[in-house]
Amino acid sequence: MKMKSGMMVVTLLLVMFGGIFLADRLGLWATQNDQISSGGGGGSSQETLLVSDPSEIRGSTTFASLLESFPIDQSVLYAAFMIPESLDPALLRSGDLESLFEETPIEIGNESMKIFIALYLGLDIELEATGFPQSAVDLIIQEQPQLDEAVRSYLEENTVAAKPLENPEIEVEDHAAEEAEEDDEHLIQISGSTLFEDLLDMGLTVEALEDLFGEAYPGDQVRVKDYIEGLGLEYSTLKKSIEALMGGE
């Protein structure tokens, strides 16, 4: 029996794509880690979230993406790195930490963010030499009191007396200029931790939300992402619909 090029193409595509399809059907095709988390600092509900590996966070990853990817609150992330609340998570990037903390003896940057998120959520990560503000270290220890001694001493060694620059807006505004000018501020403020109350504050009405979901208004303190996923809907699609709704108002 011979195998010619035509048969090779068919075999190759069948094995590769058929194999991936089969693996997917059997639940074996996972390109991200599945982690069970209690929702991080302050999260109230037990939930299963699909999160990315913290070691894959890049300098270009926005804080908004981080909040969507990991069960961590914006307030925690901002408090850890002493970021003013006025800075928009959709415009702020993980790599911006370098310019926010320009004057530290050990650099605080994207590596710090990767390791902070991993340790805060109790995920595995390779510990590399990078700086952390005291506030970040305190939050990790508070969230993970059982942290082993080696990690504690690593954090101690890498804690720096850091103070963010007084005018970080300058750096962030540069990123904003890179974004499309038509970006409405309201369109980019929905993150994983946004509550229905926040949507109302942004100008949406209860009726508009009920129309969108076809359900009764779930309540002010319900997280939008939890609610959408609870309905078995695609968060990213619904998020866009909400943003479009805001854009239309």
């Binding site: 029996m1 011979k2 195998m3 010619k4 090029s5 035509g6 090779m8 193409v9 075999t11 190759l12 595509l13 094995v15 590769m16 194999g19 991936i20 693996a23 074996l28 095709w29 996972a30 390109t31 991200q32 880690n33 590996d53 070691s55 894959e56 890049r58 300098g59 270009s60 990853t61 926005t62 908004a64 993406s65 959709a90 990037r93 790599g95 994207n110 595995d124 990560i125 390779e126 974004e179 980019i188 990213s236 699609t237």
Partner: protein
């Protein structure tokens, strides 16, 4: 009976492999670019946003030690890598390292540079390295394989990632592009102007592993000495410099199953060099 094959089938065969190479190159490049776009607030929704590590079958190999000893995968490696490893091994068991010649985007890019090199150097192309030195250098990829497996097992992290030209190729636009990987990529592509597939021949740890399947694969490259006219076209066509004309069955660990030497392609005599299960003698009897 020696039957000359016409020119038409050659063109079709070359296109098949090149089309598959193009398909996988575009697919992987699109996924890599989409991941970057999604992280910065854009991206195409229906396209995968998997990381390069998640769609690299070699990741499955390097995590095996961690999986067996700790029951866990190393950082950045996901189940998908293990699935792809299994699929590529299946193909290799069937027809050899077809992953290298039909799928691997780094191999495809090297081939692109080599086309330019062949135009510049003509017959001298792919003949620059003295045979003895070339023979010695080809053990290099086993050293790389041993180092990668050992270092990954020791550190439980993707040590090779910073030196991997494949990773660098699809991270060229990234802020965290590893300089070491980019340098190795540049040297590889420069080398490809002189030598066909230098990375595959001398340094690729995955190619080293897949090459071992040539000893046991089901479909093998077989030459029929009864019809062979000893024109040595198969030798000259082989990108890996294998002397096909001196063998009846190609079991060389460097063979990448590109089918360039076969009667479908460069061999001018029909049914003389084929990818087939049984030997020509058995088929005739």
């Amino acid at each position: 009976m020696n039957v000359k094959r016409g020119d038409k089938p050659v063109k079709r065969i070359i296109k098949y492999r090149h089309l598959v190479q193009l398909l996988f190159f575009v697919l992987i490049a699109a996924i890599a670019i989409n991941k970057t776009l999604v992280e910065t607030g854009g991206g195409i929704e229906w396209l995968s946003t998997a990381s390069l590590h998640a769609i690299c079958p070699f990741g499955g190999v390097v995590t095996l030690y961690e999986l067996v000893t700790q029951g866990d995968l190393i950082q950045k490696i996901h189940l998908s890598s293990l699935v792809l490893m299994g699929l590529v091994f299946t193909l290799a068991l069937l027809a050899g390292p077809v992953f290298c010649s039909w799928i691997c985007p780094l191999g495809s890019v090297q081939e692109g540079f080599s086309r330019l090199g062949r135009r510049i150097f003509k017959k001298r192309f792919n003949q620059f390295v003295p045979r003895r030195l070339d023979h010695l250098l080809r053990y290099g990829r086993y050293l790389v394989l041993a180092w990668v497996v050992y270092a990954t097992a020791r550190s439980a992290s993707l040590i090779f990632s910073d030196y991997d030209p494949y990773q660098a190729l699809f991270s060229l636009w990234e802020e965290d592009l590893a300089v070491s990987g980019a340098l190795i990529l540049a040297v590889t592509l420069l080398g490809a102007l002189f030598v066909e597939r230098p990375w595959c021949k001398y340094a690729c740890p995955y190619g080293a592993l897949l090459g071992l399947f040539n000893k046991v694969r089901i479909f093998k490259i077989r030459r029929n000495p009864a019809t062979c006219i000893a024109c040595n076209k198969c030798d000259r066509a082989c990108p890996m410099n294998i002397q096909v004309s001196e063998m009846e069955v190609v079991k060389d660990v460097q063979c990448i199953s590109c089918l360039e030497c076969t009667s479908e392609n460069q061999c001018p005599v029909a049914d003389t060099v084929n990818l087939q299960i049984r030997s020509f003698q058995k088929e005739e009897s």
